[in-house]
């Protein structure tokens, strides 16, 4: 039997080509994901482990809980602790380390790297073992910095150059005193590292006389563990915690692994979708192969093969196909894994170097996935093959596969569809978004399966609806329409593959588009300010920035948004400090009751907080600030909060004296003439052309939001593209097989006078009809899911309203049509080139 199976695979090479391709793509996706993520995570782990080369035990500040009406002091390590740590008998040396966002401008004045990977820190003494100097010397005093060698190479800076640097707003112009090499992971991954001398770093990072971490190196012969025990004995437990370098490396490895895990899971989910879509294609192929071989299989039965043997021979065939495809897929996947890193490198995302990791797990998983998926998909056709009676071998009449009644299938489909719809509707009626997710997902899966089961039934009316259009193409159009509904199951499986891809694409587009508009509306509708000034990476701004903006030409109103924790009734709340005089001019927050008065002890509170606390206009409440001082504040008014501004708003004049290190999340600015290029560049200039600071008007903010959404959508499209490609292969597969099956008919049509163009058109139109059918179903389902998902989102996003992106939907339909046309290219050519005589003679 096995030899027969292998022979069959070899004999049907061409017909199995699409199947192999589909499985191969799915497996390549899986193995590519595994290779890529394993490679990256190993490289990151090794680079982060290197970062601990000069540490044996790290001391980190212990954060303390807020108690009663007192806020805990911010966790930090004092100079005294450093001294204590250095004097422990097992310690050789101790280094205090500081870290923070530090923007460095390149020679073109623009920020080097992305906002999140431009780091700064302190250079310890004159020979910091963590950062060996390549050229120059250690930075000394407030006007010197050292930069890492990779950044120096990238920007062309040399020792002695003056650079523009910014930590929290004001632009500094220090000289480069030295260039160092580093093992820092961020730098290896394409970031920049700018180091100041320790006092300067402490001042800039607002850690006067304190450190973020103390790295202790053990004296010769002292183990990490012994050193840790000694340190634990000396250091106050409530303020400092210790960890050995090994523990830190392990922790970091775990963090990296877990963050990679979620990335990998996401990618694998999309690979799963592609494979799932591939199942339809594989099942179609084997169904057709079995139908074509009815006589042969019946003969096997007639000469004594058991049903089980017949099923097994089909499954073994699937096994052979799956193995070939999985091996090819694995090879392609390794290529993708390697290529992806190069591509990401080329687009500016630098990833740490390291060898390509092809683990045995990757190999096993890829092969297993490819083989199992193929065999699973071939299982039903295999069982059908076993049901062929031996007598079919004797029938001279061409035994066409009996079309089983669709009654059972339609009933099942209707039930599933109804159940799925009901569950989805139930989910949308739920208040709690988190608990609604499960029923929504479940309902969506039921509904998609239900619709798939119903596709044979739906295909007739929907494809008949295309009749008038097809009539324009004469006899080719008519035959195309009839051929498309000829084998409803096959058409269903073919178009379902496309349907699934388009459902996901449409659903995500609808939700993303609507969310974008909602967020945009929220971010900008309450905003009366002309400009919002913020840090490129979202970190906070020095109060200097607000002052500078206030003094700039044409500026009429300025307010920083200053966050500070405080204790109110034994819980920690974040207060938002604003400029009480100007906030009314800069924002347009709908007032629910009371007056919008912010100043002195008068504050305004958003409706959610007021409801939670049971406050009304006129309520007074006690607050304990960071510095321990207490005050009673009065609720002057209650406003409708939004994503941008919410919570308790009080005057900066009231708040600032109580916070040690005031800084603004952002600064809102109103200018005399409204927004203009001149006003914007005026503000930028007033801030000293700071590369780290963004000055955005409403439109910039909208564009920023749109850009984020577009980026996310494009990534999703890219990931779903694989599923669409597999669907295209499915259409090609179905058409090629149909053409093969109908070669006699096509020969006859050619003989009685349908020219090659007519034949091609017939195949193309059939392909178009099948693809558009899948497209219409997919887009319809996608819009429904988009609506249902939106219902959930609107629970937490008030401004959410479903927006149907008609242009996009039209584009998707056009995409489905394009899929149809492209998929038909090869089968149509084959059909037109068919040897007429052979086709007529064939029986």
């Amino acid at each position: 039997m096995f030899r027969t199976a292998v022979r069959n695979v070899l004999a049907h090479k061409a017909r199995l080509l699409m199947t192999v391709l589909a499985v191969m793509l799915g497996v390549a996706f899986v193995s590519g994901t595994l290779v890529f993520t394993n490679t990256i995570s190993q490289a990151q782990q090794s680079s982060s482990a290197k970062g601990f080369d000069h540490v044996d035990v790290a001391v980190e500040p212990e954060s303390q809980p807020d108690r009663g009406d007192r806020l805990a002091p911010p966790p930090q390590l004092s100079e005294a602790l450093l001294k204590k740590a250095a004097q422990v008998p097992g310690a050789d040396s101790a280094i205090g380390s500081l870290q923070g966002f530090t923007a460095l401008a390149g020679k073109d004045g623009k920020l080097v790297g992305t906002g999140f990977s431009t780091q700064g820190g302190n250079y310890w003494g004159s020979h910091d073992p963590r950062h060996p100097l390549e050229t120059g010397r250690a930075p000394h005093g407030p006007h010197e910095v050292a930069i890492d060698a990779k950044t120096a190479e990238r920007t062309g800076y040399k020792v002695g150059d003056t650079v523009r640097v910014s930590v929290d707003g004001p632009v500094l112009t220090p000289k480069i005193s030295g260039i160092f090499t580093t093992d820092d992971g961020t730098v290896a991954a394409g970031g920049s590292l700018t180091l100041f001398d320790t006092p300067t770093a402490q001042r800039l990072f607002h850690k006067e006389g304190a450190y973020d971490r103390i790295d202790v190196e053990a004296a010769a012969g002292v183990s990490q563990h012994a050193l840790q025990t000694q340190l634990d004995d000396v250091l106050p437990k409530d303020r400092a915690s210790t960890a050995t370098a090994r523990q830190l490396a392990d922790d970091q490895a775990e963090t990296i692994a877990s963050s990679m895990d979620s990335f990998r899971t996401t990618l694998l989910m999309f690979a799963g979708i592609a494979l799932f879509v591939g199942i339809f294609l594989i099942a179609n192929t084997f169904t057709m192969l079995v139908a074509q071989r009815t006589k042969e299989l019946a003969l096997l039965r007639a000469v004594g093969a058991s049903r089980k043997q017949v099923t097994r021979s089909v499954l073994f065939e699937a096994f052979v196909v799956g193995t070939i495809a999985a091996v090819a897929g694995l090879a392609v996947g390794v290529g993708i894994g390697a290529g992806l890193r190069a591509v990401m490198g080329a687009t500016g995302v630098t990833l740490p170097d390291g060898p390509l990791v092809i683990s045995p797990g990757t190999v096993a998983a890829s092969l297993a996935v490819g083989i199992l998926v193929t065999m699973l998909a071939a299982w039903l056709p295999g069982r059908r093959a076993a049901k062929i009676p031996p007598v079919a071998a004797m029938n001279s009449v061409h035994a066409t596969a009996t079309t089983k009644s669709l009654v059972l299938r339609n009933t099942l489909g209707a039930l599933l569809t109804a159940a799925g719809t009901a569950v989805v509707l139930y989910a949308t009626s739920m208040q709690d978004m988190d608990s609604a997710q499960l029923p929504l997902g479940l309902g969506a899966v039921l509904l998609v399966i239900g619709i798939f089961v119903l596709t044979p039934l739906l295909s007739r009316p929907l494809i008949a609806a295309a009749g008038p259009l097809l009539r324009a193409f004469g006899v080719s159009g008519k035959l195309a329409r009839l051929n498309a509904v000829r084998n409803p199951r096959r058409t269903a499986a073919t178009s379902a593959a496309l349907m699934i891809g388009l459902t996901l694409i449409t659903g995500m587009t609808v939700i993303a588009g609507s969310s974008q508009q909602a967020v945009d509306k929220m971010a900008t509708s309450a905003l009366k300010a002309d400009y919002v000034v913020s840090m490129a990476n979202g970190s906070s701004l020095s109060p200097e920035v607000e002052k500078k903006l206030d003094g700039a030409d044409g500026v009429t109103a300025v307010s920083g948004l200053r966050n500070a924790p405080a204790r109110i009734a034994n819980s920690t709340e974040y207060l938002t400090g604003v400029n009480g005089r100007t906030i009314g001019d800069l924002t347009d927050l709908p007032l629910k009751n009371g007056a919008f008065t912010v100043g002195g002890k008068d504050v305004v509170v958003d409706d959610d907080t007021a409801k939670e606390k049971g406050w009304k206009a006129g309520t007074t409440f006690p607050v304990t600030y960071e510095d321990g001082s207490k005050q009673r504040l009065t609720v002057a008014g209650i406003y409708e909060g939004n994503e941008l501004i919410s919570g308790i708003l009080l005057d900066n004049a009231t708040l600032t004296p109580h916070i040690g290190d005031p800084s603004d999340m952002q600064v809102m600015v109103k200018t005399a003439g409204g927004t203009s290029d001149a006003a914007q560049s005026g503000l930028i200039k007033a801030l000293g052309d700071n590369p780290a600071i963004q000055v955005q008007d409403k439109q910039d903010i909208s564009e920023g939001i749109a850009k984020t959404v577009t980026l996310m959508l494009n990534m999703l499209y890219g990931l779903l593209a694989m599923a669409v490609i597999v669907a295209v292969l499915g259409v090609v597969n179905t058409l090629a097989m149909s053409v093969f099956e109908r070669s006699q008919e096509i020969g006859m049509l050619r003989a009685i006078g349908l020219d090659r163009r007519g034949i091609k058109r017939m195949v193309r139109l059939e392909s178009l009809v099948i693809s558009l059918f899948g497209g219409v179903l997919g887009i319809g389902l996608g819009v429904f899911f988009g609506w249902a998902g939106g219902k959930l989102i609107s629970g937490s996003l008030d401004t959410y309203e479903m927006v149907l992106p008609w242009g996009r939907l039209g584009l998707f339909l056009a995409l489905a049509a394009l899929v149809g046309v492209l998929a038909a290219l090869w089968p149509a050519r084959r059909a037109a080139r068919l040897n007429m005589l052979a086709a007529i003679k064939a029986e």
Partner: protein, 270 residues
Amino acid sequence: MTTLHSGVPTATRATAVAARATDLTKVYGQGETQVVALDGVSVDFRQAEFTAIMGPSGSGKSTLMHCMAGLDTVSRGSARIGETELTGLKDKKLTQLRRDKIGFIFQAFNLLPTLSALENITLPMDIAGRKPDKQWVDRVVETVGLSERLKHRPSELSGGQQQRVAVARALASKPEIIFADEPTGNLDSRSGAEVLGFLRNSVRELGQTVVMVTHDPVAAAYADRVVFLADGRIVDDMTAPTADKVLERMLRLSGGSPQTPGSDAKGRTS
């Protein structure tokens, strides 16, 4: 060259030539594997005449039909339908010619399973984008006795009925000539006789020209004239054939062992 036994006209209407082969040669393959299927065949098919082409397996009878009907290309010589020379015609022109001037009946019926009987009958006109002549179609349908079954799909018809649909399809577009390739090969003798009767009637009553390839002497006896092929050459031309005369001629051709009717229903063509 006309025919070997230059014709005693069997039908008084038969004057013009509907199709003519002149020195027709068809060679398959090259070098050592070269097979000469037709070796300088010259023959006329007269209008309103029912001609049967007979010959043992491999004699070239099907090849002759395919070449004459524009289904296959010719290696040498000429094939004409009416005034149109087929050799050298491009695929597009050939297709048009088949569509407009030739009707086909195949052994395996070759109907489209998705179309009803009537739609199958008018298919050639649909392809041409012509409106079928309703009166004519009605008459043809009536002649072949399908009036009651026009809405049925081929799968709902018996073999004989299916072949009658095929005959009606060939007749409906009023072609200049109908080529029938073993039209009774897949039918029982009664249905076969019916179909042959229709073909003869279409010649007698409608003035249709029919050329039929067959290996069945009984089927050949329905024709006005039988052309015998052996080894790619015409070896005899018989008018007013009877089954016995044809069988006897066949026996001589194949050296004493004729193919008995129906013994080799498949794969008998050259």
